[in-house]
């Protein structure tokens, strides 16, 4: 790990980080606010048959309990977009982007090994994701206090949501970095990482909306991040194991492939 490189990588992302912290905090506040204001109305609509039953459980969440609403909040496309910026955009740009711009030349001409470069960027992304997730959970906590629904959820288990969420997005970040070390251009790296994210998301949402293919959720990484279960004391250790594997496999790939790759002169 190189402290100067770590600091600079975070500096490159500081504007993004401020914007995403504000957006995450705001979104975190909105989740309990929406729940406390609209859950009864939506429940009535569901009971009257105005909304198909399947639509009541988006992903692995629902709008009839605070933990279920929090799960929806984390699986909402807005939250995916916020968190995907670092997990996909920053990771794929970190090496393939520098390579495309030609700046990787001057960077790797310094006494910095490729493994150190990779691990330093990985650490920077973990820090950025942690701050972003913490801001989202901070907003959530503030929203719970503001709407006075703290008795419906065990807020002491929010740290588990943080850890599990960080593992989920760490898995996407690890894949993004593996794509980044494999390509000389940013476009194919970000395309591959984005496709990986979207396929996982599709499998999770598809299984929740169409019960005949509910099995597809098991193949999605999103299915292994269940705030509702974590907040109701039903955490499944298998989820943590699967996400650990999803982090370690691309990490090992990148650590093996990147130092061995030939970095030909940029075009």
């Amino acid at each position: 790990m190189n402290p100067r490189l770590l600091l600079q990588t975070i500096r490159w992302n500081r504007v993004r980080l401020v914007a995403l912290v504000l957006a995450g905090f705001g979104w975190g506040i909105l989740i309990p606010v929406i729940y406390s204001n609209f859950s009864d109305v939506i429940r009535e609509m569901a009971n009257s048959g105005a909304i198909p039953k399947q639509m009541m459980s988006f992903g692995s969440g629902n709008l009839f309990s605070v933990p279920g609403a929090i799960t929806i909040g984390f699986q909402h496309p807005l939250a995916i977009a916020f968190l995907g910026i670092f997990a996909v955009g920053t990771t794929t740009g970190a090496i393939a982007g520098e390579r495309e711009r030609g700046t990787l030349e001057v960077l790797l001409a310094r006494p910095v090994s490729r493994r150190t470069l990779y691990l330093t960027i990985a650490l920077a992304v973990v820090i950025l994701l942690s701050v972003e997730l913490a801001s989202l959970l901070g907003g959530l906590w503030a929203g719970i206090l503001a709407t006075d629904i703290g008795d419906q959820v065990d807020t002491s288990a929010l740290w588990l949501v943080f850890v599990n969420g960080l593992m989920l997005w760490g898995a996407f970040a690890a894949f993004g970095l593996a794509a980044s070390v494999s390509f000389d251009r940013h476009a194919p790296a970000i395309s591959l990482a984005l496709a990986y994210l979207l396929v996982n998301y599709f499998l999770e949402i598809l299984g929740s909306l169409w019960t005949d293919v509910a099995w597809s959720q098991e193949y999605s990484l999103f299915h292994h991040f269940q705030p509702a279960e974590l907040l109701t004391g039903k955490a499944d250790p298998a989820d943590f194991l699967i996400l650990t594997a999803a982090i370690l496999v691309p990490l090992a790939y990148a650590l093996i492939v990147f130092p061995r790759r030939d970095l030909a002169a940029p075009d």
């Binding site: 190189n2 100067r4 490189l5 600079q8 490159w12 711009r101 030609g102 700046t103 030349e105 001057v106 960077l107 790797l108 001409a109 310094r110 006494p111 910095v112 090994s113 061995r260 030939d262 970095l263 030909a264 002169a265 940029p266």
Partner: protein, 308 residues
Amino acid sequence: MDGEAAIRTEALTKHYGSVRALEALSLDVQPGEIFGFLGPNGAGKSTMIRTLLGFLHPTAGSASVLGMDIVEQSVEIRRRVGYLPGGIALYDTLSGADALDYLNDLQGRAPTRREELCERLQMPAGDLRRRVRDYSRGMRQKIGVIQALQHDPDVAILDEPSEGLDPLMQQAFYSILDDLRAAGRTIFFSSHVLSEVERVCDRVAIIRAGHLMALQHVDELLARRKRTVTLRWRGAVPDLSSVDGLADVQVQGDRMQATLLGDVAPFVRAVASPALLDLTIEPARLEEAFLEYYAGDEPTVAGKEASS
């Protein structure tokens, strides 16, 4: 370095699939010399440099920089080397000063030469405060040179270093190289601008399609080139056919033109006469030597003259 070569390659080979970018290339660069590495685009110059710096992995052979193996000790090598890539790209959102600070912090050595380099390359503090994206090509190249040399590296590897510099800055740059040589630093200098190689380099290697075609002192290389000599004579031009190295003699009235190979002293002695009205000996150019190695078909003998 105790007599050890600053850069040594032994049968260094790099293939990309069927493309033979470097073919069994062996050379030594001595400490304290400016070594020119010549060849047109695609000859293998950048491949050689990138292999020395660990960007590329050799297919066969070995190489060392400052006595350290390029594969096993690449990080240690880069700690003591300064590198200017061809067509350097810098961080556009940083100011020139911030880019230099950042790169130097990563280098981990004090930027002892930065101030002097900025002064000699005319990069005042005002220019360094501007963002790199607002720089002209020449200013980017100056920052490139400064980032490569600011930490006073033992070996500087410079790929097309004067590209984009105006003639005045080129002269300033050559003078910097002269000073580095005087300070015992080694410069590995890749270029296809033959006049600057002739101006600054002690020895040159000429590479073609990954093969080493020649490795000689610039003076030796030039001494072996043909020069054109022209003279005017009062009365009939004497017979000079016995002068060593003189060939292609053409006489028209009182004027003679010929080519002269090698030492000029015998020729000058032969024409030293009150009848001599005018004498012109055109200097030998590196360009002719270079073109000689690039005439004809693909090379068949690797390392020709490499031992001379």
